[in-house]
Amino acid sequence: MTEKIGVYVCHCGTNIAGMVDVEGVAKWAAERLAHRGVVIARDYKFMCSSLGQELIEKDIQELGLTRVVVAACSPHLHEQTFRTACARAGLNPYLCELVSIREQVSWVHTDKAAATAKAKAVLSGGVERVTHHAPLEPLRVPIHPATLVVGGGIAGIQAALEIADSGTRVYLVEREPSIGGHMAQFDKTFPTLDCSACILTPKMVSVGNHPNITLMTYAEVTKVDGFVGNFEVTVTQKPRYVKVDLCTGCGVCEEKCPKKVVDDIFEVGLGKRKVIYRPFAQAVPKYPVLDRENCTYFIKGTCKACEKFCPTDAIDFEQKEEIITLKVGNIILATGFDLFNAHRIPQYGLGRLPNVFTSLEFERLCNAAGPTNGNVVMRDGTTVPKSVGIIHCVGSRDENYHAYCSSICCMQSLKFAHLVRERTGAEVYNFYIDMRAPGKGYEEFYHRLLEEGVHFVRGKVAEVSAFARLPGEEGHLIVQVEDTLIGKQRRIPLDMVVLSAGLEPRHDAKQVAKVFGISCSADGWYIEKHPKLDPVATMTEGIYIAGAVQGPKDIPASVAQGAAAAARVMGRIQQKEIALEPVRASIDETRCSGCRICNALCPFNAILYHADTAVSEVNPALCQGCGTCVAACPAGAISGTGFSDEQVLSQMEGLLLRNLQPVEV
């Protein structure tokens, strides 16, 4: 045994030492693993502290250690710390192995003796494995300075503006004809009651005019190839049937178009739009979109009113779908949320009882630019309600729908209550389970509503019906609920009910995640790298998330995340190049039979097939070291750096303690 191995066992305060006899483990390693090359074994309160790291550095220099094993937390947390410590002392960082005796031992066991025995085995596995480590050098690749931002809601807008202002190119891709997202549909924003459009549209205009932003609306990302720093993105531009270089956005086509259809997207079914349209007056870009499915010309072959009246001949009925390829270094996903479909809760009567509205419908009712010019009226379009009920937690905090709290509904409902009071003077009932107002100025807003005389009933609404049973209920919607604070069932007759529906992941969130190679939680929200310390990065290098795509959040939080993701990307661009983990697969040409099984299995398209020599080759820049090909190769020709058969098998030997010499009694 020529290697000199140093073993370091961490107490992690009481995290490990509470369940594992740390000193015993270190002593055991020094005695029983000495013949395997262990020359020193120490324990320390916090190995990750600078004193702990210095301990390792000193030993490397003084004892001439050639390998280091640290028994502490998961490599996810401190592998980098200890590798860097080794590098500082002149040891190749990949000759350091971190074994987890916290996540895999102390935190999951309750028997100290057994946990200590397991910690010894895990450590022994690490000692055997580290002997077979080879010094590695990280791969350095350049970072392309352009960035792709997907989704033009408030989070995407914020991210795009921040990066563009720093002087690098941003491509902002949006699926709808205009950017603005859900925020463009709102009237007021809580808790300050700022006009939503007034604070959003200046930002939209900045995006439209920014010299560093290439805005691509009515387009979708269909394919992403490559890796951090060097993504190749395919964007499908849907045909607008309008030549944007000629169009002045004068709006004559929209005015002259003879056909109106119900607008299910922007007006959520409450209003109509023309077939050639801009979703709203302040849309960015200003160019309209022709809705082919409803266009009389595309259905019957005649009409062309828009073309006739267009002063710049910008209408082009021959326009085709366009495929555009972009080269970018980083990607920010800000694709937002869908509103929970409240039809799924039949007892709330949406769709069956006309005066039950969803929250988004109500936003449009309140909006001065909406279908009722901001008048809060019932479904008949004229009657002003005398009493309105607002139901919280619709589809949220419920095992049958979404178990999570949608976090915005309490404040949104308070805002609705205020707007109803302000515009109609109607009696307002808020039906809540718990009032959640944790943001800045939120609790104050709740108190303001209490002062305004809004009724608060604590109880989840059981049902909304039109069946009158008691006097005074005739002709009303009846909300049946237990008022839990008085312990009585109540039936409250109301004119109008608003369902404060929760947020849910986009209907196609899973497919989109697949395109970008990131993962979703069980609920469907995209998973961040670390819930507290890395909330905008993902486990895929170079792909960031911002806004409600990561989980329900309000406008301030979405803006903060958009800016945060932008800062991360700008940091990356500034570095100009990135060091990639050298954990890669490689193919032994002499053993490769050219069967090509690995070619199709590789999730990163990293394996090339050379037809002339009939062997496959791994592109180390594309390879992510996932190991799929290693397991699949029938000839055993592929090995993963850092995960060679030798390393894995010797680790097992160590785990089974076959490396120990029998104790002399």
Binding site: Q347, R397, D398, E399, N400, I433, D434, R458, G459, K460, V461, A462, E463, Q480, V481, E482, D483, T484, G487, K488, Q489
Partner: protein
Amino acid sequence: MAERLSFSDEVSNLLYAAHGNPLTTCIQCGTCSGTCPVVPYMDHTPRRLIGMITAGLKEEVMASNTYWSCASCYHCNVRCPQGIDIAELMYALKRLSIWRAQHKEGLIGPVFSETFVKTIFKSGRSYEPVLATSYLFTFGVQEFLQEAQTATSLMLKGRLPVLPPRIKRLDNFGRMLRRIIPMGDAK
């Protein structure tokens, strides 16, 4: 015996075969009580009863008529956002109050349940003429005579069996029942 079980543990143990989530997961939202069609007849709403159980208010819970009013419509179960098996909880409390003989005085439910189970023990099947007579006597002669008239006309129309049904191997059946109902010997 080791530590005495808390009342809420005692009730939870009775729910070991139910599919619902533990009572401790109740968020007191009141969906069950808002939904319940017989809440006006209950002294405490189902939500409140769950709160009282977790608070350990044993006497109040045992004296409540809430679970004896339960119509077993299971509507609360369907809507409960926490997936608690509320209807089964009501059954569990019925059983508990009978075993302990701690149920409230003057309720129809306990008497009916007891009579019903006894009939099952004797013949293996429910037999309305016997069930109804033995049960109605506890409420007085007048009540009995009134119901007897109805019963007679039902019987004449062939809507009530004249002879009590019996099942084969009643002994085996009795042993099975005794395993699941710890009533001691059926009287």
